[in-house]
């Protein structure tokens, strides 16, 4: 056998921090994703609270305008790219192999690389706070204000580079999940038996692979404008700012479904389990997910109704947008059908799932309102839109993710959460969420534009803004309850059995937390909801404990390759030699990764 330079043997049974850095176990990577995303979610939440403090009343001077612009840019970018998306990735990582009866994802080292690269992107973006100021042009970064002529600092550069790095992470992860779901399914796990969460993740991963290249192109053009003097969006040289908007929203609208489809998948797992009934109309729920994913590409210009595309274009996009309400509505009815005539256990995850149906319906209805191009001209860029996005992202994606955390908490940690505290946390969360975001409908219709750091008292916006600010304080308190419950239960909760909910899908057929190899014996799937059906037929068998399962081994190189991207990212912005060093580290990482030997078979 030929040997190559840098053929360093893999770490053997690393412990402590090295255990986490070199791990390629999808479950550990899932936990890394989840914990990191949650910390970034808290950072994004603090940014939101600072903005709410400034808006509590008219003419306040708590936050100066420049900082305010940085805060809303970072809040949006953080919540979308660094909180909700990676929380989705956490679930994909942990659950997809368990739900399809696999021992790991298709490319375990690539999976570790995705996580560390995501973290690199998060670090680059947040480092901007300390290196001359955060980006300040909104998460949508509309040209030409992102150009050098209007934005001299490095904030926008950090934004561009971090999104590019995050794009690499997302694409690698998405390819990995697509290949995993297609190739790693246990015998008999046909696509018509695939759990709904895995199905929605599959659609999400396909959307990611198709959507991220679009934003990548846009960001490269912007990067060239800023770094190398091209004129894609430089209006003084004839550049067209509308091009950016098209590129951004061709990515941006599928991105919305990238955020919501996993949430729909989570809800579609929780509701059947706690209703003791199969998902109502499984094929229809799957099909409507596919239609939503497909139609998500035909509606992007509804973000641009006021850009002046003309009545014909506005009519077309109004109609396609209205049409997308149909598959969404069908899903809601099917969830109601799932609960109907069931035997509902109203514990914490179930409450979150039911809460999701209510708040997501509100967000969906205001979405149909926005599809009306004519009346949307009054709502576009006002707080009515802010209310809408928070009802779909906070009252949609996030509420489902929190429910999902509770639902799979026993599986993730092997311990039970505190049910009473969980319910209290849910009610506090649900009520305060509505106190925070519902009044934004009123301020928006009362003419309050978004992204303004101050307003006069004559506008009549004081009262509802104050209510929103009070709401966000309550919301923070409810999150404290959530965090306390999760942390304390993780440390000292009661031990959980493999199947505490009498649930339906494969992940509940193994112990909590699952052994490193997941399934000692790869199960043969005979039914949709295989675990449940076999329990009903008294055919369910416990997995044996095995000591002899071949598993992919830990590796240093994915981490090293990502560190190279981190260094290179800073380098492109601040110093070219550093960029070259970063690129070299990544190359070495990828090279050594390619020729990495195999150690002992355990």
């Amino acid at each position: 056998m030929t040997t190559f330079p840098l053929q360093i043997s893999r770490p053997i049974h690393p412990t402590g921090i090295w255990n986490w850095i070199t791990t390629i176990d999808h479950k550990k990577i899932g936990i890394l994703y989840g914990v990191s995303a949650f910390i970034l979610f808290i950072i994004g939440g603090i940014e939101a609270m600072l903005m709410r403090a400034q808006l509590a009343s008219s003419n306040l001077k708590i936050i100066d305008p420049e900082l305010y612009n940085q805060l809303f840019t970072m809040h949006g970018t953080t919540m979308i790219f660094l909180a909700i998306m990676p929380m989705g990735a956490a679930f994909f990582n942990y659950l997809i192999p368990l739900q399809i009866g696999a021992r790991d994802v298709a490319f375990p080292r690539l999976n570790a690389f995705s996580y560390w690269t995501f973290l690199a992107g998060a670090i680059i973006l947040n480092a901007s706070w300390f290196l001359g100021g955060a980006p300040n042009a909104g998460w949508f970064g509309y040209a030409p204000i992102t150009g050098k002529a209007y934005n001299v600092g490095h904030g926008i550069d950090f934004w561009i580079i971090s999104l590019q790095v995050l794009g690499i992470a997302s694409l690698a992860a998405a390819f990995n999940f697509i290949v995993t779901i297609i190739n790693m399914r246990a015998p008999g796990m046909t696509f018509s038996r695939l759990p709904v969460f895995t199905w929605m993740s599959f659609i999400t991963a396909i959307l990611l692979v198709l959507a991220f290249p679009v934003i990548t192109v846009a960001l490269i053009e912007l990067q060239f404008d800023r770094f190398y003097g091209t004129n894609f969006f430089i209006t003084s040289a004839g550049g067209n700012p509308v091009l950016w908007q098209h590129l951004f929203w061709v990515f941006g609208h599928p991105e919305v479904y990238i955020l919501i489809l996993p949430a729909m998948g989570i809800v579609s797992e929780i509701l059947p389990t706690f209703s003791k009934k199969p998902l109502f109309g499984y094929p229809v729920v799957i099909l409507s997910g596919i239609i939503i994913g497909f139609m998500g590409w035909m509606v992007w210009s509804h973000h641009m109704f006021t850009v002046g595309l003309g009545p014909v274009a506005n009519s077309v996009f109004a109609l396609t947008t209205m049409a997308i309400a149909i598959p969404t509505g069908v899903k809601i009815f099917n969830w109601l059908g799932t609960m109907w005539r069931g035997s509902l256990t109203l514990n914490t995850p179930m409450l979150y799932a039911i809460g999701f149906i209510l708040t997501f319906t509100i967000g969906g209805i205001s979405g149909v309102m926005h599809s009306q191009a004519a009346s949307d001209a009054q709502q576009q860029d006002t707080y009515f839109i802010v209310a809408h996005i928070h009802y779909v992202l906070f009252g949609g994606s996030l509420i489902a993710i929190l429910g999902g955390i509770y639902y799979w908490f026993p599986k993730f940690t092997g311990r039970m959460y505190d049910e009473k505290l969980g319910k209290l946390g849910f009610y506090a969360f649900f009520i305060s969420m509505n106190i925070t975001f519902f009044p934004m409908h009123f301020t928006g219709l009362n003419g309050m534009p978004r992204r303004i750091y101050t307003y006069g008292s004559e506008y009549g916006w004081d009262f509802w803004n104050l209510i929103s600010t009070i709401g966000v304080l309550l919301l923070a308190a409810s999150m404290v309850i959530f965090i306390y419950n999760i942390v304390s239960s993780w440390i000292k909760g009661a031990k959980a059995s493999g199947d505490p909910w009498d649930a339906r899908t494969l992940e509940w057929s193994i112990t909590s937390p699952p052994p490193e190899y997941n399934f000692a014996v790869i199960p043969t799937i005979e039914y949709r909801d295989d675990w449940w059906e076999k329990k009903m037929l008294k055919k369910a068998q416990e997995q044996p404990v095995s000591k002899d399962v071949h598993l992919p081994q830990p590796s240093y190189w994915p981490f090293i390759a990502s560190v190279g991207l981190l260094i290179g990212g800073f380098g492109i912005i601040l110093s070219i030699p550093v960029a070259i060093i970063g690129a070299a580290i990544t190359m070495i990482g990828v090279y050594a990764w390619s020729f990495e030997p195999v150690n002992d078979p355990h």
Partner: protein, 360 residues
């Protein structure tokens, strides 16, 4: 801790609070929907805004009914099918084709019905039809960081941050931008349309009643976005023409010695105001970086509609514009503010104030 929790849970569960809460919430919602606030989209005073509000109400009522039905279904199911200790495993229903067809077709029909007024409104709000009085009044509006320039090409007039239109007539506003994206929005008259550099847009609006209407930039445009506002003054055709005729005259002729001194400062190389501002009729003041000040004193407010145009405010502005409007370009570019020449003295500020106040 748990006694507190039980109390909270009891309050949430008790019906009394729901009976109190829901009507009071509805009252609050209704009161906010009949608002007379300056940018309320419910207090519509022009045909475009009225048409947009009508469409909004169609969607609002349909949406409310849909939500109430879903909410009733959720609560009914939750209370009816809540698990009881004696429950058997419920029947494993996998679906119901008939039901699923019904709840797919019903939304399709509903959406198809909404699509008709939806598309009609898009075309109706795009351009005025023959029904409206139309004297082909065209105004060019240009967004600049962070103020609005208004030009009446027919009359050769340029003004800033205050737009006059005659009532009862369809007016076309052409929209341009000199720098970044902005958006032109007078909520009581019409929805917004963006001002995009290199992509000229237009909108039309009509005011049915005389009055002062609030306008606001509605597309994020940088540091002072929140402070980029304007006023639209709708008046009778006669008043409008009188205003036009007055604006065409030169306003700078004054005999007040203090104002004369102010004009000299304005035109001096040290202060350099003339380099960015136009005062029509003067030889020197022909700049176009800042607002046209020809009839400055005739405007109700200044600094892009954020502050009342009076002696005291003007003094404050001339002393330290950044304290009123952080980020404004005058404080960055004018030598007297950015430190490249001596700051204005109190006396100079008094003189400039007198001069600007004389530009009636």
């Amino acid at each position: 801790m748990f006694s507190l929790y039980k109390k909270i849970l009891f309050i949430i569960k008790s019906w009394s609070i729901k009976f109190l809460l829901i009507p009071s919430l509805l009252l609050l919602i209704l009161s906010s929907c009949s608002s007379k606030d300056p940018q309320s989209t419910f207090d519509t005073l022009g045909p475009v805004a009225k048409l947009q509000l009508e469409l909004f109400y169609i969607l609002f009522w349909v949406g409310l009914i849909v939500f109430i039905l879903v909410a009733i279904a959720v609560f009914y199911i939750v209370f009816k099918y809540k698990s009881k200790p004696q429950d058997d495993i419920p029947e494993q229903i996998h679906g119901n084709t008939k039901l699923e067809i019904i709840w797919t077709v019903l939304p399709i029909l509903l959406i198809a019905a909404i699509a008709i007024p939806s598309v009609q409104a898009i075309f109706a709000s795009a351009n005025p039809n023959d029904k409206y009085v139309n004297n082909n009044l065209i105004i060019d509006a240009t967004g600049k960081q962070w103020w609005f320039e208004f030009e009446y090409p027919e009359y050769g007039l340029i003004t800033a941050n205050e737009i006059h239109i005659p009532i009862g007539e369809a007016v076309t506003i052409k929209l341009h931008s000199q720098d970044v994206l902005h958006s032109f929005w007078v909520p009581k008259l019409a929805g917004k349309v963006d001002m995009v550099p290199n992509n000229d847009n237009h909108l039309w609006l009509q005011a049915d009643e005389p009055g002062i209407y609030y306008g606001h930039c509605a597309e994020f445009c940088g540091q002072a976005h929140a402070l980029m506002r304007f006023k639209l003054i709708a008046e009778t055709r006669e008043e409008f023409e009188a205003w036009i005729n007055h604006q065409k005259t030169n306003a700078w002729t004054t005999s007040d010695p203090l104002a004369k001194q102010g004009m000299e400062i304005f035109m001096s190389r040290d202060a350099g105001c003339y380099a960015c501002h136009t005062i029509q009729g003067t030889d020197k003041a022909k700049g176009n970086q800042g607002p046209n000040l020809t009839h400055f004193a005739s405007r109700t407010d200044f600094a892009a509609g954020i502050i009342e145009n009076n002696q005291e405010n003007l003094r404050k502005w001339l002393k330290d514009p950044n304290s009123i409007k952080p980020g404004n370009l005058m404080s960055q570019n004018a030598g007297v503010y950015n430190g490249t020449s001596d700051p204005l003295t109190e006396q100079e500020i008094s003189a400039l104030t007198a001069f600007l106040r004389s530009l009636k």
